[in-house]
């Protein structure tokens, strides 16, 4: 009788241990699944911000390619893309972790209070080489850092 009780106790402990193992495996599998999904989504978001910024600047340049209208200038926000269109000037610059666009009166410096946020960004670098403008957009930090760089030509 007593030995039967012992066998039953050992059996129940083994069952409990197996249950714990089962629960642990379930937790591991769910963790792996969520981890994989988070990684894909996070990477996509980071890269997309840099790509959106690059595409936006590329499109702006192509839509305003007139003689002596587009240049890269230094403002209070660093490298700034300047698009002159008569009485107004459009400035595109990086500040406070985002890309901004500001429409100001000609020869008036850009202000962040009057600017519209385009997208979150880690940084931007613009170089004017005469015929072309080199654009470099960065987003994220550390291992998740993404850089999108390219060139837009000025035909005019």
């Amino acid at each position: 009788m007593r030995s039967r009780g012992k066998v039953l106790a050992i059996e129940s402990i083994v069952v409990m241990l197996t249950l714990i193992l089962f629960a642990f495996v379930v937790f591991l599998v769910i963790d792996a699944g969520t981890g994989a999904y988070d990684k894909i989504l996070g990477e996509k978001d980071t890269t997309q911000s840099a790509r959106v910024a690059y595409s936006y600047i590329d499109a702006k340049i192509k839509q305003h390619d007139k003689q002596d209208c587009i240049s890269v200038t230094e403002t209070a926000f660093g490298n700034t893309l300047r698009i002159d269109s008569g009485a107004y000037t459009t400035y595109i610059f990086y500040a406070d972790g985002a890309l901004f666009e500001c429409l100001a009166k000609a020869d008036t410096p850009p202000k962040i209070s009057a600017a519209n946020k385009i997208t979150d960004l880690g940084g931007i670098d613009l170089v004017d080489s005469g015929d072309v403008i080199h654009i470099r957009c960065t987003c994220g930090s550390g291992e998740a850092r993404r850089v999108v760089e390219g060139t837009v030509g000025l035909r005019s």
Partner: protein, 148 residues
């Protein structure tokens, strides 16, 4: 459920069989393992698709940038110099390969027509493992460059 099973099995002489059995849990773990191995492929496929999409978009930007340099320069020679590609003094129809990280940028140039300047048909593609990641075909006219 678990407390109920423990109470029942510890009861002396109890024949209550409610609760998890060892066999049941072992079979469940085995089934879990087999099904996970199959489902894992879904995640691997998602990761591979995402990586390929990123490679294609990066290659697209590289190809577009090369075309922009070619279109904006005064002569094809200036453009090739800006891209860091060595060339001859006269280009009528030529192909250039420019290695980049992870792929090769292939630039095909062919002059055509009879114009005061030179009209080139341009084809730029990014290739990796003999596959085209991105490609653009266009034409550019170099007014400053007389037709050779």
């Amino acid at each position: 459920m678990i407390i109920h099973a423990i109470r029942n099995t510890l009861r002396q002489g109890s024949r209550n069989e409610k609760g998890f059995t060892l066999v049941e849990v072992i079979i469940s773990i085995a089934a879990l393992g087999i099904i996970c191995a199959v489902l894992l492929r879904l995640f691997v496929l998602a990761g591979a698709t995402n990586n390929q999409a990123n490679d294609v978009q990066d290659a697209q930007i590289a190809v577009t940038s090369a075309v922009e340099v070619l279109a904006a320069s005064d002569t094809v020679y200036d453009a090739l110099d800006a891209l860091g590609i060595s060339h001859s003094d006269s280009i009528t129809a030529e192909s250039f390969v420019c290695p980049k990280d992870g792929y090769n940028l292939i630039i095909d140039l062919a002059a055509r027509g009879d114009y005061p300047g030179t009209l080139y048909d341009i084809s730029v593609s990014a290739q990796a493992d003999d596959k085209d990641l991105a490609a653009i075909s266009t034409s550019t006219y170099y007014k400053e460059q007389t037709h050779d």
